[in-house]
Symmetry: C2
Amino acid sequence: MNNTILMRALRGEKVERTPMWLMRQAGRVLPEYRQLKAEHGFVKMASTPELAARVTLQPIERFGWDGAILFADILTPLMPLDFGIDFAPGPVFARPLEGAADLHRVKEVPAGGLAHVEEAIRLVLQELPPECTMLGFAGAPFTMASYLLDGGGSREHARLRAAVYSGEAWFPELLERLADMTIGYLQTQIEAGCQAVQLFDTWAGLLDETTYRRYALPAVQRIFRALKGKAPLLYLIKDGAHLFDAMLASEADGLSLDWRMPFAASRAAAGDLIVQGNMDPGVLLGTAEEVRRAALAVLDANAGRPGHVFNLGHGLLPQTKIENLLVLKETVHSYGNARV
Amino acid sequence: MNNTILMRALRGEKVERTPMWLMRQAGRVLPEYRQLKAEHGFVKMASTPELAARVTLQPIERFGWDGAILFADILTPLMPLDFGIDFAPGPVFARPLEGAADLHRVKEVPAGGLAHVEEAIRLVLQELPPECTMLGFAGAPFTMASYLLDGGGSREHARLRAAVYSGEAWFPELLERLADMTIGYLQTQIEAGCQAVQLFDTWAGLLDETTYRRYALPAVQRIFRALKGKAPLLYLIKDGAHLFDAMLASEADGLSLDWRMPFAASRAAAGDLIVQGNMDPGVLLGTAEEVRRAALAVLDANAGRPGHVFNLGHGLLPQTKIENLLVLKETVHSYGNARV
């Protein structure tokens, strides 16, 4: 199972066509997902192994993507810790993190606390086609700190930014603790059968490069160093074109490019690192012709270089037209067939 | 009145200290603003000349900034057009823009439709200290299109992005019409007494550089070409570090730097253009020491080069500590005194 086309591409091998998966492929745009969600609600879906496995498999059954990504909430690893997290529908914390005195509650998840995630992965693997790769994920420490401090859906990230500029030692310590918690979480996913994992740094783009390097980057490096060699390690910063040089120092095996990072220049700078992503998910709200144009722009810019995985620059938008996903698949698949 | 320290800096002249104003200085953080807002509500404040003038002057009275920026909503020039705009509290459109058939409603504001803005500017000028500069502003066409298509507070900008990738001619035509409307609006502000104007492109950072150059940039250039020489023209893209090279082609007289654009490199690339901005407004949620450090980082990076205006990388956050604004002023003012 480590010889799927996606795993071979993630090892930098030459492959017969560009493998593809899409961030947020599980959920959101699929009628079969919406139906499950209407029946069970998001929280139950993310916490019930059978339902999480079902949602993980839905886009594979419909589109045959080369990778299946675990359906879970970014806050899943924090749920067993003592924050009293509930969704209403955004996350609310009965016992929020306020400062240094609460840091002890950010710790490794107690044994058995993630059994439902392990079980979901095992259930997916029972049904996953052998040519499809199982992917795990977690939020990066700075991004997790954002949720812990400001909850979900914050626009201004006021408590997070106050913490960054507080000049106090508790904020770097929080990031280090979140890194250690995340190492355990990703290790659990890898042991349960995830073949590659991606770290999502949704909010790191809030920081200028100097501040990113001071706080967010060391925590990311800590995770990748601990997991190096256990599975290919991918890293995404949303809206972080200004942090690209710093991403190169993240110790990831592969970088997921936001659509605002220019593909050709990023690819060249990334050297031997795996590169994925980059197509604007907004294009999938447009015409089939624009979808073809945008996909070909990425494929042409890669120019057949090994170590390339097709993906979007960020997650699928809920308003995505399903027929455009079929156009996208056809474009990427036929490109490979024609040229390699 | 064109010899204020800010106007001299905007002409690139050597000045005795770095002049400063802050985006969103009018409103939000001031108790005297909050009191007015509680009494009258935002919509009435923005549309009543006496109240708009009062709010514009409040930060000048309290802090003595070198520029006063007109208090108005970014949608103000659209209010007299036939969209049935109301605030509840975000903007809602009784007759929204749906597509090509609605374009005729985007047009120059009818005579008298902006009389309350002209009157607000005149009232400010009656009370403005002679050493303070009066600044006007407008939203850039792509950003205005975002509000017209998706309303306020959209996270995904789905209708805007669908329009960009629709491959249809009506979207560029919409931007051109918004540009022409904006030329008239800014001209009105300049004739009423604004000495410099800034165009805010809050949402252009959503676009990759190629798409920005195809759609958003030509509409911005159209505005700056029409107004060139009438007043110094400033341009801000929020979160647009990846668009900095394209901003250089905007034909603005000065660029307002987001905090994620590195100051020294941007300053060097900007050549003879005026440069302002760059300090992360998030720092003002932190300690006085961090405020001093961040302000000095910008001032040091500028290294005494003329044509520099101190400002933030984006607007003041509502959670800003007022005492930090005093620290910021003291840091910028004493820097000038010590070194020039």
